[in-house]
């Protein structure tokens, strides 16, 4: 069984770096819709993938991954919104872990919106 002692040791290790990032308002927010519609269409693995990649790629000092309820576009779930300070919100639709990885690579790291996955590029009639 894993012990709480182990957790204590981790706290000692990370405490300082946490205080550095806690008050940062220049974060890019990545928000995943996690209501019934999102969950049923696969939002949980998308959230996990985004969160893991942001950690792996060492982006946690400028990107925060969070979740929200129903965004109101259930037919386009799983939806991921990217909100960069001072820029218009980008809404990615019908996401999966592979597309999420591309968004991390091309948008969050590279700075270029992955146009083909956005709501704007969807054929809405």
């Amino acid at each position: 069984m894993k012990s709480l002692e182990e957790l204590r040791a981790i706290r000692e290790r990370v405490q300082n770096q946490v205080s550095m990032r806690a008050e940062d308002h220049a974060h890019t927010r990545v928000v995943v819709g996690m209501a019934t519609c999102g969950i049923a269409s696969g939002a949980r693995p998308v959230l996990t993938a985004l969160s893991n990649l942001v950690q792996e790629k060492k982006l946690t000092n400028r990107v925060a991954v969070t979740q929200t309820g129903c965004i109101g576009l259930c037919q386009y779930e799983p939806i991921v919104e990217v909100m960069e300070p001072g820029k218009p919100k980008i809404t990615y639709i019908k996401m999966n872990p592979e597309k999420a990885a591309e968004v991390v690579e091309r948008h969050l790291i590279g700075g270029h919106i992955v146009e083909e996955y956005t709501l704007n590029s969807a054929d809405i009639k």
């Binding site: 894993k2 706290r11 946490v18 969070t66």
Partner: protein, 185 residues
């Protein structure tokens, strides 16, 4: 339709957090001898009136009026009852809500439990305002995760700190394996 029981748990527990719960207790209990899989989600959120409770299992009525519940509860109810199990909601305004779903484990229509570890991890890490007490039982073995204990140890260090998030994942994964010996159901 949700393909896994664990996704229904996530969905119902999300409702609990939106109902303003400060503590959500989630119990998953597999009993292979009695052939029962019980899932209980109990919160101390705002609760519902008897009228609302009567309506939440009706998808067509509730999806138009009580938006916080919608289709999720009818899915869960159907999933449990179609295995010869049962589904109940007890709720009181100002006290909280308890959802209990009982499945017949061996029933051909029972959906798999699925990735319950990811569900609990997602809930714990992304709800800094809510505490979770998760109990996982497999026959006579069990383990618990209590985010209140974690918070006490961590002081102000948030759960979504990479190392902490990883620890929570490992805690759930390793303890589940020790509890059920890697049983897949």
């Amino acid at each position: 339709m949700m393909p896994e029981i664990s996704l229904n748990v996530l969905d119902v527990a999300e409702n609990s957090t939106r109902a303003g719960a400060s503590l959500v207790q989630i119990t998953v209990k597999a009993d292979t001898v009695q052939d029962r899989l019980s899932v209980i989600i109990a919160d101390d959120g705002c609760g519902m009136t008897p009228e609302q409770v009567a309506q939440v299992t009706d998808p067509f009525f509730t999806s138009r009026t009580t938006r916080k519940v919608g289709l999720g509860v009818p899915f869960f109810k159907y999933a449990a009852e179609s295995t010869g199990g049962s589904f109940t909601i007890e709720s009181e305004v100002g006290v909280g809500t308890t959802v209990t779903a009982i499945f017949t484990m061996s029933h051909i229509d029972r959906m798999p439990l699925g990735d319950i570890t990811s569900t609990i991890h997602t809930l714990a890490v992304y709800h800094p305002e809510t505490d979770f007490l998760y109990r996982y039982c497999y026959n006579d073995r069990s383990f618990e995760l209590d985010t209140r204990q974690f918070r006490e140890v961590l002081g102000g260090v948030p759960f979504d700190t990479p190392e902490i998030s990883e620890y929570i994942k490992d805690y759930l994964t390793e303890n589940k394996l020790e509890t059920d010996g890697g049983a897949v159901y």
